[in-house]
Subunit: 165 residues, 2 copies
């Protein structure tokens, strides 16, 4: 759009997700360890990653798709959490279970990010910034939980179609 | 870190924030209008922008700072919402007041993003992904509101130091 349409911004990994299937952690680049200071006082992070598996022409040109939810219509990627999108950035709220500022490792309760996924930013979860009260959702998602699940959770009970994920 | 430390990812604007001081809106690139489909069924967006004013060597090397909150200690940028950080990406939850899929314009109730700020991604706000229940915060932030403010809000009442912002 207009004069700025050729802007391009450079994003570098600040670390990588490690996911063994049992242990979930962020391994930060040693250079950015000072940026962890005070992190242990927070419980949750907003973790931004790069969906590197979607960083290709096909993924970045994907503008619409049918989400893997029962009854979902064709939906634009800005109205879905699709990993394929013009800038393949993921956003996930994660629970920190241990912060080691000596070696730059943050253990998480869980993440579905794949092993080796580049992490591009971390922000503390702050209710004043992140917790919205009166939220409206489309009808086909209106029965989903009101909070991030804290324990066992079976998305298939809510109509999530696992094989299409 | 390790073999991947030279990765660099390319991010393109999908549009720009327009902020007249009275009207706040996102003007999307015409090419990505199809990605808006179904957006009108949601109330809130997770808006990711590029803090273009911090996209310089000094801003990107900033790893610690003293946040503009009364009593805040020196804090790493991954434990704060500082605009200066290795990848100057902003994350803000915004309320949509009107969605025009013909011209690619999304009117917002409010944003503090400056006029001309590049928008790099939009995601629907979904409680199952974004609304965390049991959140722990550092002592110096523990008196802040439990929700994103919906009406008039004076951050100075909470110890926000406006002149340092």
């Amino acid at each position: 759009m207009n004069q700025k349409s050729k802007d391009v911004f450079k994003v570098y990994p600040i670390g990588y997700v490690r996911n063994t299937g049992e242990r979930f952690y962020i391994e930060l680049d040693k250079k950015v360890i000072p940026a962890m200071k005070q992190l242990e006082h927070f419980s949750h992070l907003q973790m931004l990653c790069w969906f590197h598996e979607q960083d290709n022409k096909e993924g970045r040109q994907m503008l619409k798709d049918i989400p893997p939810y029962k009854g979902a219509p064709e939906t634009g990627v800005f109205a879905s959490r699709s990993p394929a999108r013009p800038n393949p950035i993921s956003l996930g709220t994660v629970v920190m279970v241990h912060v080691d500022t000596k070696i730059g490792v943050i253990d998480l309760a869980y993440t579905d990010a794949h092993d080796g996924t580049p992490v591009i930013d971390l922000k503390p979860y702050m209710p004043i910034c992140d917790r919205a009260r009166k939220v409206r959702m489309p009808e086909w998602l209106s029965h989903w939980p009101e909070w991030i699940p804290e324990g066992d959770f079976d998305p298939e009970e809510y109509g999530f179609i696992m094989e299409e994920y």
